[in-house]
Symmetry: C2
Subunit: 294 residues, 2 copies
DNA sequence: CGGCTTTATTGCGATTTGCGCATTACTTGG
DNA sequence: CCAAGTAATGCGCAAATCGCAATAAAGCCG
């Protein structure tokens, strides 16, 4: 036979309010229904929980013993379900998103501001890591959403392109090339390039695109992170080819950002999520904000 | 809408066994039923708890968060109901009984032995107190059963007579009356009686019975408890009129117990319980043993 | 790559459960 | 002894739930 939550809830309400009628009102059912629920529960258990006359209701010894447990069951249940409905109705809940560092400081902040305004109280955890780590975080469920650049395909991963950004040339103002409106790849012969490590998805992508066009570049220095590269450029060590969003125009005095053409090469920023994995309402709302602006 | 325990139970089983079919087997329903339960729960909550294909079942983010709570709800419920059914089926549970001291050491022990043999593990708490206290303990629900002597009637109290025992005369062997086979009340003129306090139900009853018959006795000493009276008799202070069960024949060397006749006056031992108060199965079983032997 | 196996879902009919209304039964206070 | 208040019951209806059979979908393996 099936376990009867209604009966227990009825029992608790009756015991606490001291009567069937009052309990019925609170539970929004008729008193008849409560009578039946209690009868069913008692007959299922094989013992009486309430001694009742038409005049008063009183707990039996067993009922008195059971009441605290019953109360706890009911409240635990009610709370849990309430929380879930709240998550569903108001997209409440915390949210983890993985993101490559450039985007974390470029595209994300605006969305985060709008999200927090719309759903205050939701905790957001950002895993800022390399594109490969972003991919894995999404794949293994550590993050519900990921923002990165295309990497190795995986059948369980679903990618949506969000935006594209060109690679640009970064140098100091006193650099010989800094006055040009645009620069071609051929101009980079002796540019003392700081390049990103071959383990980076950025580098893999860039190499692939250049190789397709028969272009090759040589790096004098190699680092792991874009931010380090920018730092070295600023320090006068050399120049670098980096995604445009690595640094906003004029964000750092003394540094120039110059379009690279012939050809223009762009990297795609993609939004990652696991295929067949339902997003939590909180993540779903964030997802909506992300794709709404493209 | 109504809270759905079945759905949660299904969810937990599926999550833990990793599939609808296995869970269905454990819950003794068809797999179809589980599909429906989960669907109903999810649509009620407005969110998905399980991502499932025909090949595997996996928790969603929300489901993963909810699982521990759900598990705790289910196990708490299952345990609580299990305990209650155990109480009902096997008369498990603890039991409190109030009893006047003489009966606690006279009639009770045999019943307790049989009870413990039949229902091992049940804790028995005995409130050994005066007849008035026994009455109140039962009346106020501190004890489910009471063994005492008739006191003031109360509409909520139900009394069943268990046995009767005569008052007898107690003295030391060297006492002049100790050789008689029986003693009449008239013989007690100069017996140096130790009597029980007038607050005792015993005394009230005895006085009433004697007065009805125009007999009066005078006490030289007065104590509260029967056991104290016996002690004083043994110490040679005087003699006493006490219920026969106060001391078994020969239980204390040097003391005599002699029938009092002309007339024989007996006190009734009654079993008390609250009217309209259902006994716990444990108490009910004890009650059955008590009245079975009359 | 196409059939095969496995597993969840759906359509449908039958049964059961649960509810509310109206009425009854019972207790108690005046 | 009557009146008021409260729980229980008879009855009929509505909805939920289930099981069976058929269907759909996803990976496995030859």
């Amino acid at each position: 036979m099936k376990i009867d939550f209604d009966g227990i809830q009825a029992f608790v309400a009756i015991a606490e309010l001291g009567g069937f009628s009052k309990a019925a009102e609170q539970l929004h059912v008729t008193q008849t229904a409560l009578t039946r629920r209690v009868q069913k529960l008692e007959s299922y258990l094989g013992l009486r929980l309430l001694d009742r006359t038409t005049r008063y209701v009183e707990l039996t010894v067993v009922g008195r013993e059971f009441l605290p447990q019953a109360r706890s069951i009911v409240s635990e249940m009610t709370n849990a379900v309430g929380r879930l409905k709240d998550m569903s109705r108001n997209a409440k809940g915390s949210l983890t998103i993985a993101c490559i560092p450039t985007m974390a400081s470029h595209a994300l902040p605006a969305v985060m501001r709008r999200y927090t305004a719309a759903y205050p109280g939701n905790r957001i955890r950002i895993i800022d890591a390399s594109a490969v780590e972003v991919r894995n975080a999404v794949l293994h469920g550590q993050a519900e959403l990921g923002i990165g650049i295309p990497t190795e395909r995986h059948p369980d991963l679903q990618e949506t392109q969000m935006l594209e950004e060109p690679y640009m040339f970064f140098c100091r103002e006193e650099h010989p090339l800094s006055r040009q409106k645009s620069i071609t790849w051929a101009d980079l012969r002796e540019a003392e390039l700081i390049v990103i490590s071959g383990l980076s998805a950025n580098r893999v992508f860039l190499d692939y695109q250049l190789a397709r066009r028969g272009i090759s570049i040589a790096g004098a220095y190699e680092v792991q992170h874009l931010s380090t590269a920018i730092g070295l450029v600023a320090a006068g060590v050399g120049t670098a080819i980096l995604p445009s969003s690595t640094l906003e125009d004029g964000a750092r005095p003394g540094l120039c950002r110059i379009p690279l053409i012939g050809p223009v090469i762009k990297r795609k920023i993609t939004l990652l999520r696991r295929r067949n994995a339902t997003l939590s309402p909180a993540a779903s709302a964030f997802h909506a904000l992300l794709i709404e602006r493209e």
